[in-house]
Amino acid sequence: MFPELNNLLDTAPDRPEQGTLTLLCDAKTDGSFLVHHFLSFYLRANCKVCFVALLQSFSHYNVVGQKLGVSLTAARERGQLVFLEGLRSSVDIFFQAQEDPHPLQFLREANAGDLKPLYTFVKEALTPTDSGKAVWRCPVLLVDDLSVLLSLGVGAVAVLDFVHYCRATVCGDLKGNMVALVHESRDVEDEDNDILLNGLSHQSHLILRAEGLATGFCRDVHGQLRILRRQASRSTARQERSLTYQYKIQDKNVLFFAKGMSPAVL
């Protein structure tokens, strides 16, 4: 986790928020550093994490996690992390039919209907077992990323249904959190992706948007982060706030600064 981002979001590992849906989107840049931040943040906060990783392998997240101070293999062994490695499972399920329903069952179908097996997998992973003692703080679902589901033949509405079901279960029933990454394509018209993005933006409590700079590539400032926070309760009269910061990604950390205040410029 990046301490500066924690300050900007006003959270800390010992007091994470509960019941929120966080949307991460990136436009013209790579927003995966946000996924690594939230993964290490929730593991440090002692939450039970279910990570649906569709785009990269386990060892990729593990190596970056170790740079940020968490060990994914250790977390997986003690049961804190449930990791669905999409790339490896997709090969297994595509070439051999599995007996019991697999979360990525839709890969075998011509017109992928819905993501119900995936939702069942998430629900089983995050529902606390009946042992009685509460070991972990709150369940968290992390998805990287939802746009890949569109590439695999699932419709935008089916993905929105899946998010809705997960939000009802994870955020509503289990009082946990959900974080999902969606790519945004601004120069091409991708209708399905726009439907997905608009639908999710409407439901999320916190939107983190990583954008490229309007002026192009810069060595010292890698992009701009827009934070949009919506109040869950309508009772408070606070307006929706949108904050913009620029960032530079380093080997083990990400530096955030106000627009135009990059240390390279000052």
Partner: protein, 419 residues
């Protein structure tokens, strides 16, 4: 010199349904021992010919066949990833890059897998460029440089700031096992081809016309190709089961063209719009779990639905686009007279890391000299005309617009802002 880390079967996590029971070997392993590693046995250092670890994260890299391109990609092509080459309009220069990749595999002793819908793999193999020996390669390079600038090593007196600019052109890497130079005018000697091990996939042979409709929404050509690749990986042990480790170089030519049975190049709203992206995803899954590297050439300029191009780029790790000047008005533009086209590095992956080695030079042009294919930084010549004519100003403005926002791989800006 080259080092890779492999790991023994990892411990099964409780409740993780998706853990594989086979020993997982991926190239995404950290070099050197890890503190508190849960894997029993720890990583062993194994060297495979023709590979080297990345300087940034210990990732295993193979050469693409062009040392200049290797440098732009951060050292080479990472094992387990896909390099997507967007073809130029008349498909003249992208087959060259394709053949360089395969020739590098022959010279390094890697196994090749060549798939094409148009040409027989045996014909492709016969046309590979011949490798240049180290000293003759240096001689070629020197004589070309001498023709251009006689005194390039003299201290610059007037434009001394330009001395500090990074020198883009990469000379031949002499006496190394990584990255060789190739002579595009000569063919690879037959005995060298015969020592190499290769598997060919020629689509018209593998597919019969009365194939039943597959139920999984992949075009039949892609399905057969995936099965073929998977069989090669498992039979030859590239997934780690073979103790003698070697790299499988997969070259797929013109994927996405109508010859593969895919109609994304024909219509905008096509039924099988997910076929190509699903194929790329499953290919990515196969590659990540094996010691292989893949180069795909794709005619993206033919794809009607632009949204698919965006999705394809997200699913490929490294994306390089070629834009040749042939047939465009730039061919006769005196500004580009030294070059044959532009090369854009659209995307570089961030593997095992938060950052990647992006090159700061965004304006790159390529040139096919008599023997060598070189990639250089695009320079605008100074405007030396006494009479300021409209045509030359127009050319400058066009090229300035070209150079303006750049093609930042990670951060791209608005198009209307140009400098």
């Amino acid at each position: 010199m080259a080092a890779a880390a492999t790991c023994s079967p990892d411990a099964q996590g409780t409740g993780s349904k998706a853990a594989s029971s086979r020993s997982n070997v991926t190239s995404f392993q950290r070099r050197g021992p890890r503190a508190g590693a849960a894997d029993s046995g720890g990583p062993r250092l194994v060297s495979i010919a023709g590979t080297r670890p990345s300087l940034r994260n210990g990732q295993l890299l193979v050469s693409t066949g062009l040392p200049a391109l290797d440098q732009l990609l951060g050292g080479g092509l990472a094992v387990g990833t896909v390099l997507l080459i967007e073809e130029d309009k008349y498909n003249i220069y992208s087959p060259l890059l394709f053949k360089y990749f395969l020739a590098e595999g022959v010279v390094s002793g890697h196994t090749l897998l060549i798939a094409s819908a148009e040409e027989e793999p045996t014909d492709i193999l016969q046309e590979l460029p011949a490798p240049l020996l180290d000293d003759s390669c240096k001689k070629e390079f020197d004589e070309d440089v001498c023709k251009k600038i006689p005194e390039s090593n003299v201290q610059m007196k007037i434009a001394w700031r330009y001395q500090l600019l990074p020198k883009m052109e990469v000379g031949p890497v002499s006496s190394s096992k990584f990255g060789h130079c190739y002579d595009a005018s000569k063919k690879m000697p037959q005995e060298l081809i015969e020592t190499s091990k290769w598997h060919g996939f020629f689509l018209p042979e593998k597919i019969s016309s009365d194939l039943p409709i597959e139920s999984c929404s992949l075009a039949p050509g892609y399905l057969k190709l995936l099965q073929f690749i998977r069989n090669v990986i498992y039979e030859e042990g590239f997934d780690g089961s073979n103790p003698q480790k070697n790299i499988l170089r997969i070259g797929l030519e013109s994927v996405g063209s109508p010859l593969w049975g895919d109609d994304i190049c024909c219509t905008e709203n096509c039924d099988s719009s997910r076929s190509l992206t699903k194929f790329l995803y499953l290919l990515r899954g196969l590659l990540r779990t094996s010691l292989s590297a893949c180069v795909i050439t794709m005619p993206t300029h033919l794809i009607q639905n632009k949204a698919i191009i965006g999705r394809v780029k997200n699913l490929a790790d490294t994306v390089v686009a070629l834009e040749s000047f042939i047939g465009s008005e730039r061919e006769t533009n005196p500004l580009y007279k030294d070059y044959h086209g532009l090369i854009h590095i659209r995307q570089i992956p961030r593997l095992n890391n938060l950052i990647c080695d992006e090159s700061e030079v965004k304006d790159l042009a390529f040139k096919l000299k008599r023997k060598l294919f070189t990639i250089e930084r695009l320079h605008l010549p100074p405007d030396l005309s006494d009479t300021v004519s409209r045509s030359s100003k127009q050319g400058l403005a066009d090229s300035a617009k070209l150079l303006g926002p750049g093609c930042g791989t990670m951060a791209r800006g608005e198009k209307h802002l140009d400098f």
